[in-house]
Symmetry: C2
Subunit: 405 residues, 2 copies
Amino acid sequence: MINVAILGFGVVGAGVAEVLSMNEDKISRHMGEEVKVKYILDIRDFPGSPFESLVTHDADQVFGDPDVSVIVETIGGARIAYEYTKRALSAGKCVVTSNKELVATHGVELMQIAKDNGCRYLFEAAVGGGIPIIRPLHRCLAGNKIMRIAGIVNGTTNYILTNMRTSGLSYEEVLKQAQEKGYAEQDPTADVEGIDAQRKLSILSSIALEGDYVSPDEIHTDGISGITLNDINFATKINCSIKLLAVFSHMDDKKPSAYVAPHFVARKSQLAPVEGVFNAILVKGNAVGTTMYYGRGAGKLPTASAVVGDILEAALPAERNAYTSDWHFTDASRVTADYDDVVTNIVVRAKAGSVENLVDKFSAYTVKSVWDGNDCSAVIVFGIAHKDIDPLVKSVEGSWMHYME
Amino acid sequence: MINVAILGFGVVGAGVAEVLSMNEDKISRHMGEEVKVKYILDIRDFPGSPFESLVTHDADQVFGDPDVSVIVETIGGARIAYEYTKRALSAGKCVVTSNKELVATHGVELMQIAKDNGCRYLFEAAVGGGIPIIRPLHRCLAGNKIMRIAGIVNGTTNYILTNMRTSGLSYEEVLKQAQEKGYAEQDPTADVEGIDAQRKLSILSSIALEGDYVSPDEIHTDGISGITLNDINFATKINCSIKLLAVFSHMDDKKPSAYVAPHFVARKSQLAPVEGVFNAILVKGNAVGTTMYYGRGAGKLPTASAVVGDILEAALPAERNAYTSDWHFTDASRVTADYDDVVTNIVVRAKAGSVENLVDKFSAYTVKSVWDGNDCSAVIVFGIAHKDIDPLVKSVEGSWMHYME
């Protein structure tokens, strides 16, 4: 049994408890033992929460319990979170966090304390929310000199920029909508002025430079509060989107650079289609070339996903600290479903003018007319089992292929 | 000093030696000690190669040397590679490989041998070439139930499909071109019939299922040899691209499924713009939602990048097996370049009809006219230092913003 304590039961803290609970079986299987939340430390009570009984206001109880091996810090900020993180690491307990401000500002000290006390300070969730980026950058690409990072790392600003374009509303109007929907804070400064992106770039740059700490203070940062609808419309005219990018660059023998600023991004760039609250990070290494990581950069469960990944890493005994699982044969003759029974989506083509016939023949499924030309007719059929495809397609004298949206 | 032996000095094996050599300083810094190739085991000699002196034909010398802690298996196939991998793991030496055939067919046994002998069998390079996917899937997303994987995991077929569309040539003609360019083997069966993708999907599915081994034999596989130019052109008409996808699905309480087949992929999908030899893998977890991993799925240095990442993971002493580096302050007041000195690309806008003036004013740089409308004129300026921007932009009474391609 691995016992976890969560400090701060806000959105992310609650998400961590929820993910550990909903994926309990899967996680036990991954670890070979149960992972349980033993305490939730918060100044508030949470009457009615399924985790109510775990809530404590007594920090001494949490830090003094030798059964607690992993501490999740989801308090945020760099004050109480800082004191608690130091206390936990000093006691030899691993700390896992989504707190980019604390990592970016006090990471040097906290990682030293962790090292001195034989434990770890892990923060996959601090950049890119649920997107794996810290581990890929630091471990998978360890054999590369990192030459460039260019990331959309703040979902709030990307949401605002995307919606200005699609709605035709001004920055102020879209910001107000974002605040109403909970995509922007009531005080949006840290997001819209690029401070959140600056902290994340501090972390990525420091990893890219193998530990040479890049302070947020040295990162030039322009936000998006000056972006007008006129800018957005112009970007469209020149086949670009405006994106707030966090950019690290370390080319040839030049000194590395790091800055945050709005960019026109050409539509052909991998970053251009990244819309709304999604994040994406391009990383270029001198061996691997360009790689990209894409996903939800914020939100309760995505961020909790990254925190839980770190909890499991922190809890893994050293002798099992491999990243491959122990494969084994099961009693079943096969693990996966028979191909015939697998449900899929397909495009069915038949002779021109036959759309109505196609829609009729596949009426047991969701079906959508997609082409009605002189050459042929076609529909998309959703949710059909492989074994049912051939007889039906034969009956319309057609052909078919898989379809994916 | 960490001593590595490379078995099989083909494209990937040579790439591993090259990356360890060209990024020697960076890697030493990452590990805190040097990582050196001590032996290259091959039946051939390599006169003139910078690594000629390391070549040996004596397997006993390699396996019997207690200084060698990590073995790189880049022989390929499942015969000699299988025997050597068993021998190395049985001797307690970690084995790192890019050999998807061996992992997919003998992974169960080999991982058990590794476990029994307290060492590791690592294969990040076996799927997606240089793209980090094994570690993100198994470690970062460990808290998720994996619901879906959809990947373009074979560069040869994606190259062929892409070039049929762009060139208008037939499958046979494009395959021939691909063979001439070295993107397809002389016997292309494993690629074009989906066998390579099938092996990779076996590996990904087995990880997604926490070690329930999905044999390649149970994966229904259709290749691309039946795809015609007519199919390709039709895909364009319905706003799709044809992609060979490896698909794993595990929804709700259904049995998991895994198959390889060509798909029409809608242009709005994240996978649609993945062209040529690039790979991309979508992974959907029940907490994180959809994530994507993109990059070069094959090639000498990209694949070597993944192998080297695993070498460093395998060599890391347990007490340092964290994925965060030890940050520290440097003597310099800052690590990164001053923002003013950083060179960038920008879009400069000024009054309508001023394109010629803009091109003239920025003639010291590479400059490109990009808009010449009734509302304004604009150029892209490449390679300009931040400190030079404002004076020049002021001189044309214009405004500017960053530009990224």
